[in-house]
C-alpha cells in the first residue's frame, strides 16, 4: 500500500512549524499507523531527510505516550483506541492523511509531533494521591469496597494520561483528565480525609497551568481511548462543590 502523509514539521519549541507532504510506499496491509510512520521514517532517512519525531512506547495502548491528531481526530478515525492501536486498514490506499501534534497551549511542541505534557504530572502532584506512607497500611481486606464501586473507580482509573481530551476540546480543558483521578479516588473509602483539599488543589493547578474551562461539549468523552465518560466530570464537580462549602 501507498499513502501520502501530510505532516507537521517543527524543529523545536522556538521555531515556527509547517506542513510537509511525503509519499510512503510498501506498507503491509496489517501494519499499524505507527508502523507506517516507522516505514516512512526509514524511507526518509535513506533519502537524507530528517525523520519525523513522535512519542510512542508500549504500542499496546496502555502507556499513553502516543498522541497524534490524525485527519482531524485525536488518535485518528477508529473509536476507543490510542494511535498505536490504529491500523492502516482504516484508510483507503493512496489516501492523503493529515498528521498533527496535540494542539493545546498547555502542551508546547518539543519537535514535530512530540509535545510536552508535564502539565499533567504537575496537576497530579498537586493532590492526585492518597498520603499513605510505605508500611502504614492495614490489612487489605479491612477496607471493604462494594463490587460496583470498585468497577466504577476502575473505569476512571483506566485513564492513560495521553491528553486526547485536552487536544480535542475546543477550550483546551483538562477536566476529563482531572476528573478521572478525582472520581476514581472519590468512589473509594480510602483517602477521604484529604478529598476536599485534593479537589481544590487539582482544579486550581489545572487553571494555573493554562488549561481552558469545561463547557460540557462532550468532545473529550468521544475521543477518550479508554472511554472515560463525563459522569466522572459530574463527580468531580460534586467533589469540588463539597470542598468549597467545607472551606
Amino acid at each position: 500500500m501507498e499513502y501520502n502523509i501530510k505532516v507537521w514539521r517543527q524543529r523545536n519549541a522556538k521555531t515556527k512549524g509547517h506542513f510537509e507532504t511525503y509519499h510512503v510506499t510498501d506498507v503491509e496491509e496489517d501494519a499499524s499507523f505507527l508502523e507506517m510512520l516507522d516505514i516512512l521514517n526509514d524511507q526518509l532517512i535513506r533519502q537524507g531527510i530528517d525523520p519525523i519525531a513522535f512519542d510512542h512506547d508500549c504500542r499496546e495502548g496502555i502507556c499513553g505516550a502516543c498522541s497524534l491528531y490524525i485527519d482531524g481526530r485525536a488518535h485518528g478515525p477508529d473509536d476507543q483506541v490510542t494511535t498505536c492501536q490504529l491500523f492502516m486498514r482504516h484508510f483507503q490506499p493512496g489516501a492523503t492523511i493529515t498528521v498533527e501534534p496535540w494542539r493545546s497551549a498547555a502542551f508546547p511542541v518539543i519537535k514535530d509531533l512530540v509535545v510536552d505534557r508535564q502539565a499533567f504530572d504537575k496537576i497530579l502532584q498537586a493532590g492526585g494521591f492518597i498520603s499513605v506512607r510505605t508500611g502504614a497500611a492495614q490489612d487489605a481486606n479491612a477496607i471493604l469496597i462494594p463490587h460496583d464501586d470498585a468497577e466504577l473507580s476502575m473505569d476512571a482509573a483506566a485513564c492513560v494520561g495521553c491528553g486526547a481530551c485536552v487536544a480535542t476540546c475546543k477550550n483546551g480543558s483538562a477536566m476529563l483528565f482531572v476528573a478521572a483521578r478525582v472520581s476514581s479516588l472519590a468512589l473509594l473509602p480510602q483517602g477521604r480525609p484529604e478529598a476536599a483539599r485534593r479537589a481544590r488543589a487539582m482544579v486550581a493547578k489545572m487553571d494555573e497551568l493554562g488549561f481552558g474551562n469545561c463547557t460540557n461539549t462532550r468532545a473529550c468523552e468521544m475521543e477518550c481511548p479508554k472511554h472515560v465518560t463525563i459522569d466522572h466530570i459530574a463527580r468531580l464537580n460534586r467533589e469540588y462543590l463539597k470542598a468549597r462549602f467545607s472551606e
Partner: protein
C-alpha cells in the same frame, strides 16, 4: 568453589528468620543525617517509583530519572494479569512457604532461596499498601478482594485490576512518587537517559545523563545509585517490551565492574499475538490470565490444518474430537496452566510438527467457547473485556466468535545485574532492583511475580538495606561533579556519540537491530545448541562491525534525536546479545527458559544438570573485545527438596 568476589551476604539462621535477622542488623541513619544524603534512582517503573517514593518519605534527597516524558509511562504499566501475594484469602491453604516453593520450583531451582523466601514474606504487605493507595483491585460482591489463578500454581493468589493490573499498581507507585515530588524530597528528571555510571574510589557516585530534549550531557552526583531500569528483552528486536525498553544502564554498570548474572535466562511468553510480517516492530502480549479460562489447541488432522491456512474452514467448525488440547493431554495436573516455558515449548513442538494454524505455520488456538458457555458473556467480559477488545483491534477477528491465535514471544529477562542479599551489585553503592537484577526468578519467572518483585524491592527491601551502606556515608561531603572521574566519563560518552555520527553510512538503526533480532531468535531463542550458539556469537560480531561501517544517524546530538537514542541502545544490545549467547553456550544443561537441545528427556522436557550447574553464573567484564570471566555463586537448597519439575501429575 566459593568465589571471593561474590559475597551474597545471606544471613545465617533458619530461612523464615533470615530477613528479620538482617533487618535487626542493618544500621539506621538518623533523620537529620538522612537529609544530608543523596540517592539517584534510574527508572520509574514499579521498582524505581516505589523505591524513590519510599526513600523520599524516609527523608533522603532523591533524584529520579526516566527516558519517557512522564514517570507513568514505564513499561510496568503494560503488565496485564495480576500480582501474587500469599494472603490465603481464598482459604486454599496458601502460605508464605507455598509461594516460596512455587517460585523456586517454577524457576527450575536456579534462584536464591533466601531472596525468594523474603519476596514471599513481604508479598502480603504489597497488597495492603496498594489498596491503601487507592488501587481499584477487583472485588467480590461482598466487597472483599477477588483472586484468580496463574500458571505453575494450584492456588488462587493473584490479585488483579481487570487486565490492567500493572497500570493500576504503577499509578499507585507514581502517585506515591508525586506525593514526594510535591513534598520536595524527590526531584524528577523525565526525558533523561543515563549514559554512564561514575565510579570514584571504587564506589558508585553518580551518573552521566543525556537530556533527550536538548541533547545536553549532564552530570549528577549522589552517595548511592539505584538502577531500576528493567530487562533486556529488546535485544531480540521483536518482543513484548515497550519500544524504548533497553539494557543500556545495566551494560554501563557491567562495563564499570558490576557482574552480570545468568544473562541467558530469558522468558518466552506463550500467549502473544503471532508475527504478521517483516515490518512489525513490536509483539503484543495476551495476558496469561486468559489461560485460566481459555483452552489451547491445534487440530489433530493435517487436512484441517491445511484447510485453516487456506481459510476454507473456520476453527469453530472443527469438531471436538478432532482437536488436540495438547497441554491438557501432556500435563493433566496443570493443563493449560503450566508455567510459561513449558507452554511455549509445547506450542513450538506442535508447530514444528506442522500443526501451526495460520499461514506462517507459527500459531496455535486459545479458545474461549467453553468459558463463554460456562460463565456467560458478562462474566467473561468483566474478566477479559479489554484483552478481547485489544485482540480484535489488532487482528480484526473477534475472540467472542472464533478462538484467538497465539504464539510465543520474548517477554522478560530473569538474568540481570548480580546482587547480594541487600540488592547491592559488586560495585559498592550501586544497587539493582526489579527486573534489572537477577535474584528471584531463576530460570523461569512465574506469571504475576514480576509486579510482586518490583514492588517488594522498591517498597520494602531496598529502603532498608541501602541504609546500611548510607549509614557509613553521611559524614562524606556531597559528591563533586567537577571531579576528574565525572569529566572522564562525560568525555567517553561524547566520544561514543561522535563516533556514531561519524559513520555516515546508508543503513537505518532499526534495520540493523532487526538483523540482530533474527540472529538472536535463530541461535539464542527457544531452543539452543552448541553449534548454533557459536555461530550466533560470530554473527553478532560481524553485525557489530557492519553497524560501525554502515549505520546512518541523521541530525546532531544537540537536539531531540530519536535515531541517536536508538543507536546508542543498539550498541549495548550487541554486547548483551553476545553475553547471552556466551552464557547459554557455557550452561550445558536445560533449565527453565534455557533449553539446550543436547539436554532433554525422551519426552522433550528440560534436563537439568544439578551436579555441574547448580550455581549463578556471574560474568565480569574484562575490557572491549576481551572474553569476560565467569564467576560462580553456588546455590544451596536447605529448605526445599530439589526435584525434577513435574506438571504432569
Amino acid at each position: 568453589m566459593a568465589d571471593t568476589k561474590l559475597v551474597s551476604k545471606i544471613p545465617e539462621g533458619p530461612l523464615a528468620e533470615k530477613w528479620s535477622k538482617r533487618k535487626s542488623e542493618i544500621r539506621i541513619v538518623s533523620p537529620n543525617n538522612k537529609r544530608k544524603l543523596e540517592v539517584i534512582v534510574v527508572g520509574t517503573g514499579l521498582g524505581g517509583a516505589s523505591a524513590a517514593a519510599s526513600l523520599g518519605e524516609l527523608g533522603y534527597n532523591v533524584k529520579i530519572f526516566c527516558i519517557s516524558d512522564s514517570p507513568r509511562r514505564a513499561h510496568s504499566i503494560a503488565a496485564q494479569g495480576g500480582i501474587n501475594a500469599a494472603k490465603n484469602y481464598q482459604n486454599d491453604n496458601d502460605s508464605v512457604y507455598r509461594l516460596f516453593y512455587d517460585t523456586i520450583k517454577g524457576g527450575d531451582y536456579r534462584s536464591r532461596e533466601a531472596n525468594v523466601y523474603r519476596l514471599a514474606e513481604v508479598s502480603a504487605s504489597i497488597i495492603d499498601q496498594c489498596v491503601a493507595q487507592g488501587v481499584p483491585f477487583a472485588r467480590e460482591y461482598g466487597g472483599y478482594l477477588a483472586n484468580r489463578s496463574f500458571g505453575g500454581v494450584q492456588v488462587s493468589r493473584t490479585f488483579y485490576a481487570r487486565g490492567q493490573t500493572g497500570q493500576q499498581l504503577l499509578l499507585g507507585a507514581y502517585a506515591a512518587l508525586n506525593k514526594e515530588i510535591a513534598a520536595g524530597s524527590v526531584k524528577s528528571y523525565p526525558r533523561h537517559e543515563m549514559l554512564d555510571l561514575v565510579i570514584i574510589n571504587g564506589q558508585a557516585k553518580g551518573i552521566i545523563a543525556r537530556n533527550l530534549v536538548t541533547g545536553e550531557i549532564e552530570r549528577f552526583g549522589a552517595h548511592a545509585v539505584v538502577l531500576a531500569t528493567g530487562g533486556y528483552g529488546n535485544t531480540y528486536f521483536l518482543s513484548t517490551n515497550a519500544m524504548n525498553s533497553n539494557g543500556s544502564a545495566a551494560m554501563q554498570a557491567y562495563r564499570k565492574g558490576a557482574f552480570f548474572a545468568n544473562p541467558c535466562f530469558a522468558q518466552i511468553h506463550p500467549t502473544c499475538i503471532p508475527v504478521h510480517g517483516d515490518q512489525q516492530c513490536k509483539l503484543t502480549l495476551m495476558s496469561e490470565s486468559l489461560r485460566n479460562d481459555g483452552r489451547i489447541w491445534v487440530p489433530k488432522k493435517m487436512e484441517d490444518v491445511l484447510k485453516l491456512r487456506k481459510h476454507e474452514i473456520k476453527p469453530s467448525q472443527i469438531p471436538e474430537e478432532d482437536r488436540d488440547y495438547y497441554l491438557e493431554r501432556r500435563y493433566p495436573a496443570f493443563g493449560n496452566l503450566v508455567p510459561r516455558d513449558v507452554a511455549s515449548r509445547a506450542a513450538k513442538e506442535r508447530c514444528d510438527a506442522g500443526f501451526g494454524v495460520n499461514e506462517t505455520g507459527l500459531a496455535v488456538f486459545l479458545d474461549f467457547a467453553d468459558a463463554i458457555k460456562r460463565l456467560g458473556h458478562q462474566r467473561v467480559e468483566e474478566r477479559y473485556g479489554n484483552l478481547f477488545q485489544m485482540y480484535e483491534k489488532i487482528t480484526s477477528s473477534s475472540p467472542w466468535e472464533e478462538p484467538m491465535m497465539i504464539y510465543p514471544a520474548i517477554h522478560y529477562t530473569m538474568g540481570g545485574l548480580w546482587v547480594d542479599y541487600d540488592l547491592q551489585t559488586t560495585i559498592p553503592g550501586l544497587y539493582a532492583i526489579g527486573e534489572a537484577n537477577f535474584s528471584d526468578h531463576g530460570g523461569n519467572r512465574l506469571g504475576a511475580s514480576a509486579l510482586m518483585q518490583g514492588l517488594a524491592d522498591g517498597y520494602f527491601i531496598l529502603p532498608y538495606t541501602i541504609g546500611d551502606y548510607l549509614s557509613h556515608k553521611f559524614a562524606e561531603p556531597k559528591t563533586d561533579i567537577n571531579a576528574p572521574e565525572f569529566a572522564e566519563a562525560e568525555k567517553k560518552v561524547r566520544e561514543r556519540i561522535d563516533r556514531i555520527f561519524a559513520v555516515k553510512g546508508t543503513e537505518t538503526v532499526d534495520s540493523i537491530h532487526k538483523k540482530l533480532g533474527h540472529i538472536m531468535w535463530e541461535y539464542v531463542g527457544m531452543a539452543r545448541n552448541e553449534e548454533g550458539l557459536k555461530k550466533g556469537i560470530e554473527e553478532i560480531g560481524k553485525l557489530r562491525e557492519e553497524f560501525w561501517k554502515t549505520v546512518r544517524v541523521p541530525g546532531s546530538n544537540e537536539e531531540f534525536n530519536q535515531e541517536l537514542e536508538k543507536a546508542l541502545r543498539l550498541v549495548d544490545f550487541f554486547d548483551i546479545g553476545e553475553l547471552m549467547a556466551r552464557d547459554a553456550l557455557h550452561r550445558k544443561e536445560s533449565c527453565g527458559g534455557h533449553f539446550r537441545e543436547e539436554m532433554q528427556t525422551e519426552e522433550g522436557e528440560t534436563k537439568r544438570d544439578d551436579e555441574n550447574f547448580m550455581y549463578v553464573g556471574a560474568w565480569e567484564y574484562k575490557g572491549e573485545g576481551a572474553e569476560p570471566e565467569l564467576h560462580k555463586e553456588p546455590l544451596k537448597y536447605e529448605n526445599i527438596k530439589i526435584a525434577t519439575r513435574n506438571y504432569k501429575d
